[in-house]
């Protein structure tokens, strides 16, 4: 199924999202080229999840456009986007705890019924632990296993663009490694990935390109390698993470000086 899951280009143009009075996203623009892994980093409340929600049709963008392969999908509803291959692994996994693991996966394939058996075999091959417990309620899985289920469920939708919202959140370092291994493999198979992370160091190491968000805006962007070396990024988001890969450290909400940030 790898070959059929060819990537697509995603473009976000000047998107605004508000919740009542709260302006969560204020004019964000992103480009995610076909087959690339792009990361979106930033502190708590920066507007990363809201940006993803606008892309997926889960909230209405107040202004701006979302384009997939050049087609304007801004007004599409979420089920139509999933059908078109724009699939999200949501923040906090959102697995359906009372349904079985297999039922969760079957729901992932909601629009891909014809490919269900093939997709299930693929996901069970990637995550054998899910195969062993397929008939158990998904709520019985550990946090790391639930994350694998959430990723597997998204893969069953045969994504062309996979949006991942903090997949390493709350996982032990070893599991974080495993999750990043999974992400890199998905990307290597040709799926375009937009990865939202608080673990900025790991995300930038894996990504081709990065965007840094703060209070609803993109304040910095550039090739991931340059962002990794960028003093401000190091200071605000990476900190000691360079020496001690502890996700908690990168949670600290960094503040950039008001001066215009360098556009790399």
């Amino acid at each position: 199924m790898t070959a059929e899951r060819a990537g697509a280009v995603l473009e976000v143009r000047d998107v605004h999202v508000s919740y009542g009075q709260i302006q969560a996203v204020r004019g964000v623009s992103l480009t995610v080229p076909s087959g690339s892994l792009v990361t979106l980093i930033g502190a708590n409340g920066a507007g990363k999840s809201s940006t993803l929600a606008a892309i997926c049709g889960l909230v209405r963008a107040k202004r701006g456009q979302v384009l997939v392969d050049g087609e304007d999908v801004t007004r599409w509803r979420s089920h139509r986007l999933v059908e078109a291959g724009v699939v999200q692994v949501p923040e906090g996994r959102e697995i359906l705890a009372t349904l079985t693991i297999e039922e969760n996966l079957q729901l992932g394939a909601w629009h891909q019924g014809r490919h269900l058996a093939e997709g299930l075999a693929d996901v069970f091959g990637r995550f054998p632990v899910l195969a062993d417990r397929r008939r158990l309620p998904a709520g019985t899985l550990s946090g790391g296993e639930q994350q694998m289920l959430a990723i597997g469920r998204a893969l069953l939708a045969r994504p062309r663009i996979l949006l991942m919202d903090e997949p390493s959140m709350g996982l032990a370092p070893m599991l974080v490694d495993e999750v990043f291994g999974v992400i890199e493999r998905i990307r290597a198979e040709g799926t375009t990935v937009l990865l939202v992370e608080q673990n900025a160091h790991r995300a930038l190491q894996a990504a081709d390109h990065g965007y840094v968000m703060e209070t609803g805006e993109v304040i910095l962007e550039g090739p991931a390698s340059e962002l990794l070396a960028n003093e401000r990024v190091v200071e605000a988001y990476l900190g000691e993470a360079f020496h001690e890969p502890d996700p908690a450290v990168s949670d600290g909400g960094g503040r950039f000086p008001d001066a215009a940030p360098p556009r790399c």
């Binding site: 889960l58 979420s78 699939v87 949501p90 705890a97 349904l99 039922e103 729901l107 939708a157």
Partner: protein
């Protein structure tokens, strides 16, 4: 034995009605108080098709079921869909569905009038079957078979089909369902249609069983249906089946053993007693739901 048969018979109609209630509640967390009006209209529409239009009885029943599904669609569109997204949507939906029920009752009153309608003599097969000391009519057997088939069918649908999985996903976490690409609005609509089809089936079966159709018949069953789903466990389909059967049996036995004046006292007293022992209902689970 005769009472047991009668109790199961009456209980299966209660169960069918209550399952419609609990389906919408379980999947959507909404209480649709227009359900009783669907029950009443199901009876009238079945009567209209059979008596006025001269359809055979089986076709009239199918017609009433289909009409119920359409009523469900209208109820969702009129009383619930416009409120979606409001923070008080649950409470507002409760009120707007009561209002819609009043409209539906008024329409039925306008069309059919206040008198009790009956199927003309000779509408039903008169054959009776005796076994193990009880006598049942063929009509009763058919009614029971329809009710049981629909109950089992619904359970199967929710437990084992793609649509049922989607309904359970929406029940547990609508946002997650949306993320997975499920068309939550469509699942909502289908849930209402199924629910109302059950309600109107219960209505036409009740009308056939007692050969009596009145505009107020919905009000009489409304409270019983609500009691049944509370006792069964809110949102639990098997709970609604069990609760409905219990209520039917309790009513029949109290009428036979104590007297008809005591029917509601015994039936509802029993339900309270069950709730004392099992506060979440017979098959209910403690549900922790985030807003």
């Amino acid at each position: 034995m005769q009472q047991l048969v009668n109790g199961i018979f009456l209980g299966s109609i209660y169960a069918l009605f209550a399952m419609g209630y609990t389906l919408v509640f379980g999947v959507l967390d909404l209480l649709n108080l227009a359900h009783q009006a669907v029950f009443m209209l199901g009876a009238f529409i079945g009567w209209l098709l059979a008596v006025e239009f001269g359809w055979p009885l089986w076709a009239a029943v199918i017609g009433a079921v289909a009409a119920g599904a359409i009523l469900g669609l209208l109820i969702e569109r009129i009383a619930f869909a416009p409120l979606r997204g409001r923070p008080d949507a649950h409470f507002a939906g409760l009120i707007s569905s009561i209002a819609l029920a009043i409209v539906m009752v008024a329409v039925a009153l306008g069309i059919f009038g206040p008198q009790t309608l009956r199927f003309p003599p000779g509408s039903f097969p008169s054959a009776r079957v005796s076994f193990a000391g009880a006598t049942v009519s063929v009509l009763q057997l058919v009614i029971l078979a329809v009710a049981v088939t629909m109950m089992l069918g619904l359970n199967w649908l929710v437990a084992s089909t793609r649509l049922g999985r989607a309904m359970r996903a929406v029940a547990e976490n609508p946002r997650a369902a949306r993320v997975l690409g499920i068309n939550v609005e469509r699942v909502t609509l289908i849930t209402f249609m199924l629910s109302s089809a059950l309600g109107s089936t219960a209505g036409i079966l009740f009308a056939l069983a007692f050969n009596s159709i009145r505009v107020e018949m919905g009000l009489a069953i409304e409270l019983k249906g609500l009691a049944v789903i509370i006792v069964g466990g809110m949102g639990s389909l098997p709970g609604a089946m069990l609760g409905g059967l219990l209520l039917g049996l309790a009513e029949v036995f109290s009428v036979a053993r104590i007297g008809s004046g005591w029917r509601d006292v015994v039936a509802f007293g029993l339900l309270f007693a069950i709730l004392l022992l099992r506060p979440h209902g017979l098959l209910g689970r403690k549900r922790v739901r985030e807003v």
